[in-house]
């Protein structure tokens, strides 16, 4: 029952957050002198007539609160407006561009959790071994590198030579699952590695540190002295305790993930939500930008709720707050 209340509270907070973000974005872009907005939308070389047309078409002359009201109204109906340039409904655009982003995020997430946690756990169980030391070096490099550099280096060092020698499984750009899972994976493998590498470094370090701390605790010594096999000690007791900070780190990372997604999509020309929104920035395509911002906020909120739920399952103390 407490879980239900917990869930409800989180959802309500989430809705408030999304509303705040949408409002913030709206006012940030539209609450400027009408001329400025119109000029920005019409392009630098626009003549006064064009600007006037833009003002009229978009209703920029109306009082800001009226515009805001329309905006909210549309939003609640799921109408995110139309792209200024192609007149496509924004939500259609967003739906089209969802698959690459989704593939990237899910694949990357799986990869970095698996890699990060396993390397971290193994390192912690063999402290200061060769494995531990080399993985620490790798972690340090991973943490130091910007995502796009890793991506570019991967392309340079893996994709280009392989392709030159006729091994064409790995490709840039996006291919949907509908074109065959193998093709899809071939396009996604490098982006996955790129997205996962920096994150994996963080999680490796986190998992290793947490597990080392936990393994030093007294109740672990007790378990060992009871004769429980080493493997059980590590996995049942140690890892479980080490998981909670990993989960909470996930919550924080979800927000930062957006940045990584945008960059990786740009590097590999995946054409997902990230890339589309960056293009929208270049072209001052405000409805698309606002649409992306709102969707991103919603995504972050939902992901956080899920993370909070998982955390509450792992750690019952959290449920009362």
């Amino acid at each position: 029952m407490a879980m239900f209340g917990f869930l409800v509270r989180r959802i309500l907070t989430g809705i408030v957050v999304i509303w705040l973000v949408a409002t913030g974005a709206f006012f940030l872009f539209f609450a400027r002198p009408v001329d400025t907005v119109a000029r920005q939308l019409a392009g630098r070389a626009a003549t006064p007539q064009v600007i006037n047309t833009v003002i009229n078409n978009l209703g920029l002359n109306q009082p800001i609160m009226v515009q805001y009201w329309h905006f909210l109204d549309n939003l609640l109906h799921g109408d995110l407006g139309y792209s200024y340039y192609t007149q496509e409904p924004v939500d259609t655009m967003l739906k089209q561009d969802l698959p690459p982003t989704l593939s990237l995020v899910v694949g990357g997430l799986v990869l970095w959790l698996v890699a990060g946690l396993s390397v971290g756990i193994i390192s912690a169980t063999r402290p200061r071994s060769l494995f531990d030391r080399s993985s620490s070096v790798a972690v340090l490099i991973g943490l130091s590198m910007p995502v796009f550099v890793i991506g570019e280096l991967l392309i340079l060092v893996v994709f280009v030579p392989l392709n030159k020698h006729g091994f064409t499984w790995i490709q840039t750009g996006y291919a949907g699952i509908s074109q065959g899972v193998v093709t899809w994976a071939g396009h996604m493998i490098l982006p996955w590695i790129t997205l996962a590498s920096v994150q994996a470094a963080v999680y490796t370090r986190l998992a290793r540190g947490q597990l080392l701390d936990t393994l030093g605790e007294d109740y672990i010594k007790t378990a060992r002295s009871k004769g429980i096999s080493e493997r059980r000690v590590i996995y049942l007791h140690g890892v479980r305790a080490a998981l909670t900070p990993v989960v909470s780190q996930l919550g924080v990372d979800v927000g930062q993930l957006l940045g990584g997604v945008i960059v990786v999509e740009a590097v590999f020309s995946l054409g997902g939500l990230g890339q589309v929104s960056v293009e929208a920035i270049y072209t001052d395509n405000l409805p698309v930008i606002i649409g992306f911002v709102v969707v991103a906020a919603a995504f972050v909120v939902v992901a956080n709720i899920i993370v909070d739920l998982v955390y509450a399952v792992l750690d019952p103390r959290v449920r009362i707050t």
Binding site: A25, L28, F29, R32, P127, R128, D132, R133, S136, L140, I141, L143, S144, M145, P146, V147, F148, V149, E152, L153, I155, L156, F159, V160, V252, G255, Q256, L257, L258, G259, I262, V263, A266, V267, S277, V278, I281, Y282, D284, L286, I289, V293, A296, V300
Partner: protein, 344 residues
């Protein structure tokens, strides 16, 4: 204090009037950390190179934004490789000297790294101190604000600002500083909360010291150590931020050189010009790696009990109880010297 004197029952010295401060001791420990020292040297070299960029321009006669289509590009219009025609590291997509552009990019990166961190540190320390010391409503509001800022995806803010005011160096600095202060503020707040409970703070209050005096003269000196570590570790983050934003086109705009926008253009020349990717990437990596290692080194130098994975050459420091640095401690100085097994 020789062992002979100890055995002869000589009294411990009391003449040295000047106590060794914590910084002194930290520096001495840091000096023994080869990795950290190497990183420090690398950083210094980077700074010197960046500052000396105009000097290099005078040497190779290739200003950073000038294209050389004749000497700098081959017949197909592609960049030429390192060492050709007086281009030390080759050229970029429009025939500009890559080495010079990397140097100028270093100027931007280092400038952004330092300035944003300093600004962020000043703001972050102040907010953290105020939140931690005053507690109550003030703290609740500030703490929530800090959390909100930290959770906020920086990309979204950078994008938004880029839309509204247009991309520029000032926007980058504003965005990055906006996040660095939050990271620092959170740490400072946590430290302040625990330091606040110490008896010497209570003593200061009982003397009649006001809140600002206590915050800045009593609490702050105890914070500088962690703040220094955080700041040093934040610089590479700031450098990466800037590179990423410039890469996406939201930061430094071409033709002004930034490692980010160099690498963005380099993507068009994977097949033809590997050096266009490798050298700027190497510069970025070396810089961030150096700061990360230095930051780790400082952190370990401040707390000699930390366990380190890279124990080579650091074994001395991890032996508890022995006072190697010469400053007097609580234990009397007459601990007899016992050589460890295997030699020192």
């Amino acid at each position: 204090m020789s062992i002979g004197a100890v055995m002869a029952g000589a009294p411990p010295e009391t003449i040295n009037v000047q106590g060794r401060s914590q910084w002194h001791l930290t520096w001495r420990r840091l000096r023994q950390d080869k990795v950290a020292m190497a990183s420090l040297v690398v950083i210094l070299i980077m700074v010197v190179l960046a500052l000396a960029a105009p000097l290099f321009v005078a040497i190779v006669h290739h200003p950073p934004n000038v294209a050389y289509p004749n000497t700098g590009e081959d017949v197909a219009g592609n960049p030429v490789g390192p060492g050709t025609n007086g281009f030390w590291l080759g050229t970029d997509g429009t025939g500009r000297d890559l080495f010079i552009r990397i140097l100028y990019g270093a100027r931007i990166s280092l400038f952004v790294g330092f300035v944003t961190t300093v600004l962020g540190a000043i703001a972050g320390v102040t907010v953290g101190l105020v939140a931690g010391y005053f507690g109550g409503v003030v703290d609740t509001i500030l703490a929530r604000f800090i959390d909100a800022v930290l959770a906020f995806p920086y990309i979204v803010l950078a994008l938004s600002l880029a839309v509204v005011v247009g991309p520029s160096l000032t926007v980058i600095i504003a965005v990055i500083a906006f996040f660095s202060w939050a990271a620092i503020a959170r740490i400072v707040r946590g430290q302040t909360l625990s330091i606040k409970e110490k008896e010497y703070i209570e003593a200061a209050r009982s003397l009649g010291a006001g809140p600002f005096r206590i915050m800045f003269l009593d609490i702050l000196p105890n914070l500088l150590a962690p703040v220094l570590v955080i700041a040093t570790l934040y610089i590479p983050t700031a450098v990466v931020f800037e590179a990423t934003l410039s890469y996406l086109g939201l930061g430094i705009q071409p033709p002004v050189a930034s490692w980010g926008n160099i690498l963005a253009d380099a993507q068009n020349f994977y097949q033809q010009a590997w050096w266009y990717v490798v050298f700027p990437a190497a510069a970025l990596l070396i810089t961030t790696l150096a700061f990360n290692l230095l930051g780790d080194g400082i952190r370990d130098a401040m707390d000699p009990r930390t366990e380190r994975v890279f124990a080579a050459g650091q074994g001395r420091r991890r032996r508890a109880g022995r006072n190697k640095t010469g400053g007097a401690l609580d234990a009397p100085n007459v601990v007899p010297f016992v050589p460890p097994p295997g030699g020192n």
